[in-house]
């Protein structure tokens, strides 16, 4: 054990967190020492964010306890956490764009008298802080006028405006350029000198090796190990992060993958869309499951949105069955028999307040109506019933409100609504996110079944084992670019993670 028992500022022991049937954390532990940068390393979905949200008081743990500076610590909201001396800088921006930098940095803690805000003092205090941190912004600027990177720095300044014993930085460099990241690293250095403990979350390996003192690896919601930076290599860390037996989680292929000589359903060539992604090229054949792996911000979902006509490409071509097409709306994509199970089923997939039946029939409604637009309710009902049976959707009835079902069953409804359109190609963006293990396996079986029937599948996922376990080939993306298209013999977790983190071994 690299960390001795004494001189610990934050100690988490035996913590678990359950969301319904889903276990987000199990037997989690952590010891953080003052004046050190402690990196938490894990894949997306490994439980890092849940852990951080518990520390920030957003969630409460199901079991386990936290000691902060020797005192029991059980925050019920972020204000509690701040009062106890713990501050968190989330990766999602939480700034008000129509207010100034100063107003944002000192939000809810504005210097005031009798309810009137002292604007001069506000600006002065914020300016001092910004100067101390060495940020390249003026405190009187509107946040909305700043670049994303500058906003991220303001976000950090806001987090540091309270005197904290523990600072959590959740992927702080994800939208920073190298020189801006350098500013952040200097800030971190100064905080360390002051004895502040820093919990750092990042996917960038070089950055982690440069900044960290201690590194804790988590996987599947469990604590794996804590190592001193000087004792590990990047390769070891990646192996610790992804290593697991995956044979039993993914149903095997019954039908051989299509030959590489077969004509692709979809060919994408040099597709670019400004800063989101550039020069993306790949093709997918009938019956093939083409995996898409990349970390958050790699541009995978943006590519899918563009293919589905929700956004338009600035350059490049898309061909379906060999013929070049221009898809400018979902209506056109659906006409070309493309289906899209989006990443956020609650926002873009389902009408939560409506019945299972009307959600399932939603896309294929034309097939259930007569010439004059009257609905054929009987046909609609039979079709919905058949899908519920085929995908074994657990619902009390077809009239049950979709929002009342479990995550796995909701996801199956989204699948069902696309299956009714008999798609030639189906895009699945994070199809098993927030789905429990049992339903996951069923969804994998459905995907296999569809591929066996000749549907081309684009499987986007940030879960590496899922991508490797299911795909025939894997497109790896990093920062908007395709860094590799891996064939089965190259599909080891280590190799793919190397390409995804932009770290060439």
């Amino acid at each position: 054990m690299a960390i001795s028992g004494d001189n610990v500022i934050l100690e988490i022991s035996d913590m678990s967190k359950e969301f319904g049937a889903v276990k987000a954390l199990k037997s989690m532990q952590l010891k953080v020492r003052p004046g050190r940068v402690h990196t938490i390393l894990g894949e997306n979905g490994a439980g890092k964010s849940t852990l951080m949200k518990i520390l920030a008081g957003v969630y409460q743990p199901t079991t386990g306890s936290i000691l902060l500076d020797g005192q029991p610590y059980a925050p019920t909201n972020p204000q509690d956490a701040a009062r106890a001396g713990l501050t968190i800088v989330f990766q999602e921006l939480s700034l008000c764009n129509n207010m100034t930098v100063a107003e944002n940095i000192l939000a809810t803690r504005e210097p005031s008298r009798g309810g009137f805000i002292n604007d001069k003092l506000l600006v002065r205090k914020a300016a001092e802080l910004v100067k101390e941190l060495g940020l390249p912004v003026s405190v009187t600027d509107q946040v909305g006028d700043l670049s994303i990177a500058q906003r991220q720095l303001v976000e950090i300044a806001k987090g540091l405006s309270i005197d904290a014993k523990v600072v959590i930085l959740d992927e702080p460099t994800s939208s920073l350029s190298d020189s801006e990241a350098e500013i952040l690293f200097q800030i971190i250095g100064r905080l360390k000198e002051k004895g502040v403990a820093i919990i750092y979350i990042s996917h960038r390996m070089e950055e982690i090796m440069r900044l960290s003192d201690d590194i804790t690896v988590v996987r599947d919601g469990s604590y794996i190990t804590t190592r001193d930076k000087t004792e590990v290599t990047i390769a070891e860390l990646i192996a610790l992060m992804v290593g697991r037996d995956m044979n039993e989680i993914y149903p095997p292929r019954d039908v051989a993958a299509p030959a590489s000589t077969e004509r692709p359903v979809l060919s994408v060539n040099g597709l670019s869309r400004g800063e989101e992604f550039e020069n993306v090229s790949f093709d997918v054949r009938p019956g093939e499951i083409l995996g898409f792996f990349g970390l958050i911000g790699s541009g995978r979902s943006e590519v899918m949105n563009t293919l589905f006509g929700m956004a338009h490409a600035f350059a490049g071509t898309v061909a379906i069955d060999g013929a070049q097409v221009k898809i400018t709306s979902p209506v056109e994509a659906i006409e070309r028999r493309i289906g899209f199970v989006t990443e956020n089923r609650k926002e873009e997939g389902l009408v939560l307040s409506h019945s299972v039946e009307s959600n399932i029939s939603m896309v294929a409604l034309d097939g259930f109506s007569s010439l004059f637009g009257f609905l054929k309710r009987k046909r609609e009902r039979e079709a919905a019933k058949a899908e519920v049976a085929r995908l074994s959707i657990k619902t009390a009835s077809l009239d049950t409100i979709a929002g009342s079902l479990s995550g796995g069953n909701q996801q199956k409804i989204v699948l069902a609504k696309w299956l009714l359109t008999k798609p030639k190609m189906l895009i699945l963006d994070e199809p098993t996110r927030g789905v429990d293990v049992g339903a996951k396996f069923e969804i994998y079986k459905i995907i296999r079944q569809l591929a066996a029937e000749g549907t081309a599948i684009l499987l986007v996922s940030s879960e590496l084992p899922e991508v490797i376990g299911m795909s025939d080939r894997v497109v790896v993306m990093s920062e908007g670019k395709v860094t590799a298209i891996a064939d089965p013999d190259q599909m080891t977790p280590e190799k793919i993670m190397h390409f995804a983190t932009g770290f060439a071994s």
């Binding site: 929700m310 979902p330 209506v331 926002e347 009408v351 307040s353 939603m362 259930f368 609504k417």
Partner: protein
């Protein structure tokens, strides 16, 4: 299934869905029957239906708009525009049918403008229709410089004053439009798409529903319904008044919301809206018969709306 059991099943369904609001309507009727002997009569009920017709029809259109999660505050002004268009058509010597078609087309065009500004220019419908409420209201006065215009065309005035098989024509119009809207909303692909889009616009968009087009058509429906309301109103008044239909949009919204239409979108029915409109009609009529002063009527109406909506919300929450 026999007619009788079908009817009782339908009644049960209505009670299940509209129990709270239906009960409010009955309670009001009982109160007014007890306090006034003349309230409970066929003649008076026909009277109530006639009085509420303008609001009810406008409320059918409003239900579509609210169902989408939007709002149309311009319908009161469209009601007035419709009357004036009709009056001008006759002033130019047109005959009844082309004048009626032109009047309804005017409503469609004004609704189209609301829809295009909302769907294509991405302005909030609240703002768009506050603006067009003023613009359309101003346009009413253009042909006459603010003076009312008489309508003496007998076919036009017959709508508001004559009967067919013993029932006022106005009530026939309400019945036909109710059926039209009810069937369009509950039995067709178009209606289903309106529900889905109101429930979750993003999901509708990703599912290939032409959300913008749908929105524009629905604002046009709202405009057309308001224009028909305007025809009824002007036919009863034998004239087009520049302040006709003033603040009717609020009564139409109240009727729709009383009937269970959710301002968040995705939920609502024409049956509910019809009951909502009847509650407003019964309240107005009952209090008029009791000679309640106008300002008290306003207060009571506001309170009844609050209580009825609260009861409805509470019963729906209890079911969940």
């Amino acid at each position: 299934m026999s007619d009788k059991s079908a009817a009782s099943a339908a009644f049960k369904q209505v009670m299940k869905q509209y129990g709270g609001i239906f009960l409010s309507l009955i309670v009001l009727c009982v109160i007014f029957s007890v306090t006034n002997g003349r309230f409970m009569s066929v003649a008076n009920f026909l009277n109530i239906l006639q009085q509420v017709s303008v609001i009810a029809i406008a409320a059918f259109g409003m239900t579509w708009v609210i169902l989408l999660g939007e709002i149309d505050l311009s319908i009161g002004s469209i009601i007035a525009v419709a009357g004036m268009v009709g009056a001008q058509c006759f002033a130019f010597g047109m005959s009844f049918v082309p004048a009626l078609i032109l009047t309804i087309a005017a409503g469609a065009v004004l609704g189209l403008a609301n829809g295009v500004l909302t769907a294509k220019f991405l302005l909030p419908s609240f703002i768009v229709t506050v603006a067009t409420m003023g613009i359309y209201r101003g346009m009413v006065s253009l042909p006459t410089n603010g003076a009312p215009a008489m309508i003496m065309e007998p076919s036009w005035t017959a709508i508001g004053t004559q009967s067919f098989i013993g029932i006022p024509i106005v009530i026939w119009v309400v019945a036909v439009l109710f059926l039209f809207n009810h069937i369009l909303l509950s039995k067709t692909k178009f209606g289903r798409r309106a529900y889905l889009t109101g429930g979750n616009r993003e999901a509708a968009l990703y599912s290939g529903i032409k959300v913008d087009r749908l929105k524009i058509i629905i604002f046009m429906i709202s405009g057309v319904m308001a224009a028909i309301s305007g025809v009824l109103l002007s036919s009863r008044l034998f004239s087009a008044q520049t302040n006709a239909g003033m603040s009717y949009e609020l009564d139409a919204i109240a009727a729709a919301v009383l009937g269970g239409t959710s301002l968040a979108g995705g939920v609502g029915t024409m049956i509910g809206t019809l009951i909502g409109a009847l509650i407003i009609g019964v309240l107005n009529n009952g209090m008029n018969m009791l000679s309640v002063p106008y300002f008290y009527q306003l207060i009571v109406k506001g309170l009844v709306i609050l209580v009825a909506v609260y009861l409805d919300v509470r019963s729906k929450r209890a079911k969940q």
